[in-house]
Subunit: 308 residues, 2 copies
């Protein structure tokens, strides 16, 4: 089944302990699409500026990603500059230029309307909700958000969450959104807002899938924990979360049935894609990846966690 | 096979968000012994004061723990007072009274000398080393330490580490001891100091077993990651690490052969015992536990992490 994703296609300048780069192709929808494209057909809705040229297009084309929903607007693409010099788990933002993104009005190509899966990457929850409502036929909707929307746009975010099946956020975001220091209690509070699945990403400690099937249970019985790969070098953490989401949701979309086992394997594929993303700068590792390498890493995650 | 453990048998006064208690039986050797006693015979070497009475003795006796190595000295037992009000992952120490522990000279009963397993709980590395050297016949030696010894007693600690097969410490301790921010690199540096197995405890994120069998590998291939149970309430984190160590090492001691599979299962039993310890105040949960409950929780950890 094909996935439609709406989100940013952007340029990043990033500095990490391993080095720095200037204005390279990035953005949540880019990382998500590349990761998901190894599992299923992906269609992107985004806006880019005049600086988006054949070199960037080629990255999407090489992975057969449908770009008909990428609108070209006068001006520059969204730009972010940040560093991870002190802490690889948390970016320090130096500059954010919305540029063409400031007036972004997502337009859904007719050809996208038969998508069964929809991913709402981290953008204004008002836009996320608009896209979700414009695609009422989708069977499964997942999405991401960030502290900025949680803290400063809570009412719009809560409206958006009602239309989500799966939310993917990190520990801090879960605790802030769920207004509880305890992760399990915070996760339950978040699931009560709409999504019946919550994936909490723990960075180097992996991720936990919560599923609210028994709201009265005192412990988290319906949970699954996927590890992260212990890595000797994280070259660039940018896009790890979006790559996780792409692997997770892409794998789900490739499955004939959404069984509990499919969700568990999706968590492993998410972790695998996140672990690849950080091995090189920007999208480099995802661009050069093969499905065989992905399955090899999947097996390594099994080896890392399974008793037998 | 029986385990001899040397460490503190003490009293704690603790405050957590769930409540507080005054001068209850505690200490690393106590938590370790209780947890390990569900898997194998345990013998304790420690010193207690005149305040250690029949009520405390009864806790050890109920679990058939050998107390012949618990020396009685004039004065009071070791006492610690701390709180976890801000952060459940890190204790704030309010008072430490060494009392009889200040002049502790571990004495090994002859009856303990056929122990095949030795656990050196977190005490002065000079004493840990002395006990290890006095028991040259043991087949497997594991131990714990803390930032105080790593920072202020490094030479003595490094001498002690040469005699260890397995070291169990947390993330921060690993990074400080291994002098590297990256956990995998820090773990390799620590293993180069002596122990060929390193268990790094991640608190609510579980624990990782590192095994240095291929020092040149760039990624951590010989690793195993055990989860922690996502809990809605942590009543009292005190003793969680020692209970982990007791479950881990106790299970290993119960196995006919130290296969890689035995180490993996030991990590799960360690996590299980740690998860029980935090459910109630002090040693209460460990005292009332049954082996059936432990195996049920082991299965729950499998369910939490395994694909099929």
């Amino acid at each position: 089944m094909s996935i439609t994703v709406v989100g940013s296609v952007a340029y990043d300048s990033v500095e990490t302990p391993a080095g720095r780069y200037e204005r390279k192709l990035a953005g949540a929808a880019t990382y998500f699409s590349l990761a998901a494209s190894f599992f299923t057909d992906v269609r992107v809705i985004a806006v880019v500026g005049e600086d988006f040229g054949p070199e960037q297009e080629a990255v999407f084309k090489a992975r057969k990603i449908d770009m008909r929903g990428i609108e070209r607007a006068p001006g520059k693409s969204f730009f972010w500059e940040g560093s991870y010099l002190e802490n690889l788990n948390e970016a320090k933002t130096h500059a954010t230029e919305l540029n063409v993104f400031a007036a972004f009005e997502p337009k859904i190509p007719d050809a996208y309307r038969d998508s069964d899966f929809l991913f709402l990457a981290n953008i204004d929850p008002v836009l996320q909700r608009r896209v979700r409502e414009a695609m009422p036929q989708v069977k499964l909707v997942a999405g991401d958000t960030m502290n900025y929307w949680i803290n400063d746009h809570r009412p719009a975010l809560l409206e958006m969450l009602k239309g989500l099946d799966i939310l993917l956020i990190n520990d801090t975001e879960t605790r802030v959104l769920g207004e509880n220091k305890n992760l399990v209690k915070a996760a339950k509070a978040v699931m009560a807002m709409g999504p019946c699945f919550l994936v909490v990403k723990h960075g180097e400690y992996g991720a936990t899938l919560f599923h609210e099937s028994s709201p009265k249970s005192k412990s988290a019985e319906h949970t699954f924990r996927a590890p992260a790969l212990p890595l000797e070098e994280v070259v660039d953490p940018t896009g790890a979360g979006d790559s996780f989401a792409g692997g997770f949701f892409g794998y789900l979309a490739s499955q004939p049935e959404l069984t509990p086992g499919a969700f568990r394997r999706a968590m492993f594929y998410g972790s695998a894609m996140g672990s690849f993303a950080v091995e090189r700068f920007g999208t480099e590792r995802l661009e050069g990846l093969s499905r065989a390498e992905i399955d090899e890493r999947f097996d390594r995650f099994r080896e890392l966690t399974h008793l037998d």
